[in-house]
Symmetry: C2
Subunit: 463 residues, 2 copies
């Protein structure tokens, strides 16, 4: 390792190479305040430097963990004390905005919010959005195929990436910086790296697709009597609003009642319905968009698909509605509470949630499983609170949530990725043949297993 350190200093310069004494005490990640670990922290300033760093680490057979904003939810960027961490935080240039082609070219360390703001200044819109926008980086968004709040309308990060530059484990630079919507000249290599959580290469630059900025926004919270009506509501919202449907968020009744307990949020609707949904439309034609939205609500009330509805009369009322869904401090106030991010076909959701809830109640008499989800995306978030403290209850909770997904073709990770945390559960969502093909790709692109080893495929898998 001393040899590697001196080779890195010689190749990159001392001001790119930080020792634990230099980088000092910092948190492991946004989610974990335990001390950050790494043998060395590298901060390259160019793709060529990333390439030289990776080539040297491979030569010395030292493991490398790539880091963006350290906001990932599955421990995919946690480094250990014997590993080299490469942070892209000094490669954050927004290189070019092309208003005609509607693209932006950035270095991978660019922070999501800075990209959003830079393109907004030119009247354009980058649709990816998530809570970590102020810290997370484009490279991290690519590596984890980030989802967030606009997926139903604009897709996940994968749909927003036109081209990538990537450095492989041996330092080879793959300059796949396509900027066109159509390019069928051979295999589309960027998809290997999107969502592979840094295990196949380090993303250094990207060409992203932009959209026109929406200027209309219509929101309603509605109360619904059963899950069949939720499905009907989704169908009608899709067919009447089409691409304008920008949010379709469903809260199970228990979740709604918990976050509207006295002392928490004021309930916008009566508290005794089985389901609540927030429906939102965004478009570029405020008048007609509003009419379409109001016509839809009228039809939904008239046909009894929804039992009640509330429409915000101001921006602050809209924020209050959204806060019921987004601010779940009332749920996490009871500790421990375990948060899950799963996906499954919509038609199985009601049954799946009942199965998890009854398993939770069977294990812990005072336990709860509260649920909301981006239903239009097939994505549910579950909060399991055992209501007790005991050995092995986190693992038992994982089992209650993940195991039934296998029966429905569901996924143990809708948007957070597998990281290190969910590797034991990958096989619930992926067949042995799929996992073996993932391993084949890993062996082919990173034969010495130096890039983010253990992430996605688990520690049991090596070179």
């Amino acid at each position: 390792m001393e040899k590697l350190e001196s080779a890195l200093r010689q190749s990159l310069g001392d001001d790119r190479v930080y020792t634990p004494e230099q980088f000092g005490k910092r948190a492991t990640s946004y989610w974990d305040s335990s001390p950050y670990q790494a043998r060395l922290l590298l901060q390259p300033r160019s793709t060529a430097e990333v390439s030289r760093a990776l080539a040297l680490c491979l030569e010395h057979r030292v493991e490398v963990v790539t880091q963006g904003g350290l906001t990932g939810c599955a421990r995919g960027a946690d480094s250990r004390a014997d590993q080299v961490a490469i942070s892209l935080q000094r490669m954050r240039t927004i290189e070019e905005i092309d208003p005609i082609a509607c693209t932006v070219t950035v270095q991978a360390g660019a922070v999501l919010q800075e990209v959003q703001e830079a393109v907004a200044a030119q009247g354009l819109y980058f649709p990816l959005d998530l809570g970590a926008r102020g810290s997370c980086t484009i490279g991290g968004n690519v590596a984890t195929n980030a989802g967030g709040t606009n997926v139903i309308r604009h897709g996940m990060m994968r749909e927003l990436v036109l081209g990538l530059e990537v450095v492989l484990a041996d330092g080879t630079i793959i300059p796949a910086m396509n900027s066109m919507l159509k390019n069928n000249a051979g295999y589309d290599l960027k998809h290997l790296f999107i969502g592979s959580e840094g295990t196949l290469g380090v993303v250094t630059r990207a060409v992203l697709r932009l959209r026109p900025a929406p200027c209309s926004r219509d929101t309603a919270m509605v109360a619904v009597q059963g899950f069949g009506d939720i499905c009907q509501l989704l169908s009608m919202a899709q067919s009447r609003l089409d691409a304008r449907l920008s949010a379709f968020e469903v809260m199970w009744g228990d979740y709604y009642r918990t976050v509207t307990e006295p002392g928490w949020h004021r309930p916008p609707l009566d508290r005794d319905y089985p389901f609540y949904a927030i429906v939102e439309s965004r478009g570029v034609d405020p008048g007609p968009d509003h009419s379409s939205f109001m016509n839809l609500l009228e039809e939904l009330l008239g046909t009894g698909v929804i039992a009640d509805a509330v429409i915000p009369k101001s921006e602050s009322e809209r924020e209050s509605l959204w806060a019921v869904r987004e601010d779940f401090d009332a749920v996490t106030a009871r500790q421990p509470t375990y948060l899950y991010d799963v996906s499954l076909p919509i038609r199985h959701m009601a049954q799946y949630v009942e199965r998890v809830q009854s398993a939770v109640r069977a294990s812990w008499p005072g336990g709860t499983c509260l649920v909301f989800g981006h239903i239009g995306d097939g994505n549910l978030h579950l909060f399991v609170t055992p209501g007790a403290v005991g050995e092995g209850q986190h693992e038992l909770s994982d089992r209650h949530v993940y195991t039934p997904l296998g029966d429905y073709g569901g996924s143990v990770s809708a948007e957070h990725g597998i990281g290190r945390e969910k590797t034991p559960w990958l096989s619930v969502s992926r067949s042995p043949a799929e996992v073996e093909l993932m391993r084949l790709l890993k062996r082919s692109l990173d034969p010495h297993n130096t890039l983010n080893p253990g992430v996605v495929l688990g520690d049991g898998f090596g070179a």
Copy 2:
């Protein structure tokens, strides 16, 4: 080969295995009337049969070419007399339509038009559409990442595929039949196979994404004085129509004048403008959608971005407008004429076309290069007519069209793929590092090079 034939007959049954005497005289493809070649033609009826067939072909080291509707434009499915052809034409079941999740599950041999019609009968819409719809198969659409006429609004086939079942060269079945919009459980394997033209596996089933059926349609043909105005027109159409913009087709003046020569199409607008465009909007709100469209046109005329416009007053008038762009018999009446499908950033298009046109004129005094394109997708189609017959002129024409693309980050294949036909030109659009990574994937997934050998990567590349 005799051993393989008898093993195939034993494993699949005689009624799945056809010899040249049995399959008789047929054309190589839609584009090539020369006689179809194959040592054997297999018509499996299930994924398990495809798996057994591939395993046996590998065991006997016999090359396999996968075939769908035989409408591909780049000779990617042409089989030779010493190869086994596998046709998916008996695997065309439309297995399930889920109106809530908006998905359809099909076998890969299902014909595109049959899928379109089956989902339309349930009020849904599968957006992929192209001229070959009555013959091309979903498997072929996946393998070539088909584009077509709705890309600007709904993306290419890749954006419409949620899950795939694929059989690898050794017969391993990869059951990646995801049906959710969000699934980040490990690498997204389907993208390996989409657009890889049958060289990495045989697609046997797919889960496709559906959309609400559009019910409004507004169309205009406009005349434009310069390419700068075309860019401005595109920007304004995108920001005013947003996701409703469903076609943005530009014809260079020479193309328009050729197809509106006396005896061909009646010219909807004066014939002396430098550019013409067809702009179309589709949505789900006929009244407001029409108003938005008319407001846009008024603004475009008022600001001088367009010089003239014509709006069809009936469905047959709309068809006549579209025929000017789609029916180019007047262009191909002069033979030979070579058709190209390239993409490049919009801002370079005017200069690129001028370069190609002047190279054509320099080579052939009477030569022409006529151009139209799906500009919003970055996609141009060029027709080069040397106006003379000579040795090597097709190859020279290729060079005039493809070589300059390298300077603009353009692609030698926007939507048709590389097939066998364009392999010599792959390196114009892809760097040596990209091609080497493609080869690494091919070697890893098909180590004996038995699947569609020579396609995409060229004959020089073997196991």
